[in-house]
């Protein structure tokens, strides 16, 4: 049941992203997706394997639910954020967008907790938004540098 919910959630998020009119180039989406997934996986891996502040129950459907989230759901949300961020010009709208997406990512993380997919142990709640805020800032910084490299033109090799 939990796995079904996650597959549905992942499918809806992916479908929404595919159907949405995108502002990012496909080579941007690819790069940001890889980085976003790497951020989500490192966050989970370090806390689960080393610090023991996150616990994933040894139950295959729950583990597969978490796997789907870290390679699809989190990256979709984070790339969506960049897609909107790119066409947001005023600083207060950018601030609102960051707060909104930090809230969405934190909600997904805590949905994992309440559904028993990723259980927080000795966790301070403020760590969650802080991690996602840091992740989004990292992505924005990367996007700025990557776009310069990508769009400077010239032959491909």
């Amino acid at each position: 049941m939990i796995l079904f919910i996650y597959l549905l959630l992942n499918g809806i998020a992916l479908l929404f992203f595919i159907k949405k009119r995108k502002n990012l180039h496909i080579l941007e989406i690819t790069a940001y997706w890889f980085l976003a997934s790497y951020i989500a996986q490192n966050f989970s891996a370090l806390c689960y394997m080393n610090f023991k502040t996150l616990h994933i129950p040894e139950n295959l459907p729950l583990e597969m639910s978490h796997f789907a989230s870290r390679i699809n759901l989190y990256p979709v949300i984070m790339v969506l954020f960049l897609d909107y961020y790119l066409v947001t010009y005023s600083w207060y709208k950018k601030g609102f967008l960051i707060i909104l997406f930090v809230a969405i990512l934190t909600s997904v993380e805590w949905l994992n907790h309440f559904l028993g997919v990723l259980i927080h142990v000795n966790w301070q709640f403020w760590w969650s938004p802080s991690v996602w805020f840091g992740g989004l800032l990292l992505l924005i910084g990367f996007m700025k540098g990557y776009r310069i490299l990508l769009f400077k033109g010239g032959q491909y090799k």
């Binding site: 080579l27 890889f34 394997m49």
Partner: protein, 163 residues
């Protein structure tokens, strides 16, 4: 975490430096965007597969001293695999391999990769807790084919953008 700086850490370090040195002479062959994308693709792929097979849902092997996420394992993700993939693509692209040549080339790299994995096991850099060397044999050609497909995809998209 319970990490000792012993031989397996040296092994990771030496392997990563060797991979970087093998990439260094060809670093300017591909455009920086393509290098970056191939680099990121590799990090994404191997970190996803390793987390999947080391920690959750499977516990089939681990790197280094114990099943934690060690810096030495991250060195492999960040340097070893991307450099090896770029060297692989360099010869593939430079000699414009097609058809049977590509098959032979992939088989050659598969043989080398399985041999290298065996050396990792012998040096206690890679500890099997359910995995077998035999299982890796189909993984390497599959990864090579995926890498070639990804390379053609990004090369075509970048050419469209550049012209």
């Amino acid at each position: 975490m319970n990490v000792k700086y012993d031989w397996n850490e040296w092994y990771f370090l030496i392997s990563s430096v060797a991979a970087l040195l093998s990439f260094w002479p060809i670093r300017k062959y591909f455009r920086p965007v393509l290098v970056l994308l191939i680099w990121m693709y590799n990090i994404f792929l191997v970190s996803s597969i390793d987390y999947f097979l080391i920690a959750t849902p499977f516990k089939a092997y681990y790197f280094g001293d114990n099943p934690t996420y060690e810096l030495s394992g991250a060195l492999f993700h960040l340097f070893m695999y991307p450099c090896a993939s770029l060297v692989f693509l360099y010869f593939y692209d430079k000699f414009e391999l097609h058809g049977k040549q590509t098959v032979v080339y992939i088989l050659g790299w598969t043989g080398f990769s399985v041999f290298y994995e065996w050396i990792c096991v012998k040096n206690n850099a890679l500890i099997y807790t359910g995995w077998k060397l035999l299982y890796s044999i189909p993984v390497y050609p599959a990864a090579a084919i995926l890498l070639i497909l990804f390379f053609h995809f990004i090369k075509n998209k970048y050419e469209d953008l550049a012209y």
